[in-house]
């Protein structure tokens, strides 16, 4: 009963999960207005175009905020754990976990870069660490 929650890599976001396996952060980009989006949707929310491609984006961003869980909602996650909200350079936002930095050391707008964590033989999770050379 210690199985942690895992994503189903099959589905509309499959290119994202396969990308993480190959050390890339891939998101959808509208074929018409070029707006990035994630998770996957059929239509661009900016121009409603139905054409898109999956593209690799720069795997860096900033911490927008964070919180520390003290309550167990999922088996297999050890308390307390920290969730960060990251905004990638391309504008996409993600929830994730920080690597190599304690919650007390997190700051708004702290630059972070992707860490690809192979969690199971199929699943790689996208986590973030402070950008090297950017420690305050």
């Amino acid at each position: 009963m210690t199985t942690r929650p895992l994503p189903s890599i099959e589905g509309p976001d499959k290119p994202f999960w396969l990308g993480l396996r190959q050390r890339e952060v891939r998101v959808q980009r509208c074929g018409d207005c070029r707006t990035y989006r994630f998770p996957a949707t059929r239509f661009c929310a900016h121009c409603r175009s139905e054409t898109f491609e999956w593209v690799a984006v720069e795997p860096t961003g900033v911490v927008e905020t964070w919180c520390v869980f003290h309550r167990q909602y999922f088996e297999g996650l050890t308390l307390p754990y920290t969730v960060i909200q990251v905004r990638l350079k391309c504008g996409i936002r993600l929830f994730s976990n920080p690597v190599g930095v304690e919650a007390d050391a997190l700051r708004i707008d702290m630059p972070v870069e992707a860490v690809f964590e192979d969690t199971t033989p199929e699943v790689t999770l996208l986590k973030f660490q402070p950008t090297k050379g950017d420690f305050q």
Binding site: P5, T65, F69, F74, P80, V83
Partner: protein
């Protein structure tokens, strides 16, 4: 003088609040509706419009309650819908689509074991399943993220959240209907356990069973009924639904400002006219965001504002005089609207705000609603 308000709340009703495993959401709704109709001095046959909220099925509800309204609708069990239902009822009455509308809410969440977080979490846009692998879940965590950002940007302190929680608990102590009535100190707040840091247990609303009903009709008719009408002097609504999987950068200030401006304009009032505030308090930070968004204090100033004691009964803007969601009952905005009505009626007993002419209900969420109730029609 122009009659500004054409619709009024004429009847309110609610069940006891707590744990009632023998009643389901339909039963709780019927109990509340019986009270609200009796409160108004009306009969079930007077109801020609019905909107149910959180009750699973409108058809089943009408069968149980013996209702054949000319207009019927059903809305999902999200707190933002209390304000939406009230504003929709006002529009229906003004349009002539219905004369007397009942809004009925039933919530057996406590007894049915509702959980807000974990594998069944459906909060937000399409649910949060994508983020479960990182442990991200629950409306509480969403608000904890916003709280942390507010603290980092503006210097808001944990104790500011604590002051909100403690103040509403002090109010609940004056309310016999409240579930949680034992006052606590700020030190008790600070030592209460974290659920999702920076939020403590006391920053979270309750989960309990209960039902609430409101009856609304045209102002011209309201004057002949059993209770003093609570006129809908002004109301407004605005949304921030696109990109709403993530907390809004502005703490919902833009839609709150718009909804507030519309409601004040319609009412012909300014903030200084308002006697009491009913602020949607799913979590304490929402109260701070609302004070800024709806214009009761400046951007980033809500922490010091609450520290000055303005929200307490006897303060400038006594807020959530019932105890709110944090201490009275988790009725998703409905009970706060009942409290607004009772305050302008002058029926709140020990917790009555003196000379209460106007009560302002506000809810900050991806759908923002703002409703100003008045004792007089104009």
């Amino acid at each position: 003088m122009v009659d500004r308000a054409s619709v009024a709340v004429v009847g309110v009703g609610h069940t006891r609040y707590g744990s009632f495993p023998e009643y389901d959401a339909y039963d709780l709704g019927v109990l509340a509706l019986k009270q609200a109709i009796a409160d108004a001095g009306l009969k079930f046959t007077d109801i020609d419009g019905l909107i149910v909220n959180r009750i699973p099925d409108y058809q089943r509800f009408c069968e149980i309650a013996g209702l054949d309204p000319a207009y019927v609708s059903i809305t999902p069990g999200q707190g933002r819908f209390s304000g939406i239902c009230i504003e929709t009822a006002a529009a229906l009455i003004r349009s002539g689509a219905a004369k007397t509308i009942a809004l009925v809410y039933g919530n057996n969440g406590r007894s049915s074991g509702d959980r807000y977080g974990g594998a069944g979490d459906t909060y937000g846009s399409g649910g949060g399943g994508l983020w479960f692998p990182y442990g991200m879940t629950s409306p509480g965590a969403f608000h904890a993220l916003m709280a942390r950002r507010h603290m980092a940007l503006y210097g808001t302190k944990s104790e500011h959240f604590g002051i909100v929680a403690k103040t509403f608990r002090d109010h609940a102590a004056l309310n016999p209907a409240a579930v949680m009535r034992t006052p606590y100190t700020l030190a008790d707040y600070q030592t209460s356990r974290y659920i999702c840091e920076p939020l403590h247990l006391f920053d979270y609303c309750l989960i309990n069973d209960g039902g609430v009903a409101l009856v609304l009709t045209a102002a011209a008719r309201a004057r002949d009924l059993a209770q003093p009408p609570a006129y809908l002097r002004g109301y407004g609504m605005a949304t921030a639904l696109s990109d709403s999987t993530f907390p809004p950068d502005d703490f919902w200030r833009a839609p709150a400002k718009e909804a507030a401006a519309d409601s004040f304009r319609m009412a012909g009032l300014v903030h200084d006219d308002i006697s009491t505030l009913m602020i949607y308090d799913n979590f304490t930070p929402t109260v701070l965001f609302s004070l800024e968004g709806f214009g009761y204090c400046g951007v980033g100033e809500s922490g010091p504002f609450v520290a000055e004691g303005h929200l307490a009964i006897g303060g400038r803007y006594p807020s959530n005089t019932s105890g709110g969601h944090l201490s009275e009952s988790y009725m998703q905005g409905w009970a706060l609207n009942v409290e607004a009505v009772q305050q302008v009626r002058g029926a709140c007993g020990a917790r009555q705000v003196e000379n209460c002419h106007f009560a302002h209900y506000m809810a900050a969420a991806p759908v923002v609603t703002s409703i100003i109730y008045g004792r007089e029609q104009s």
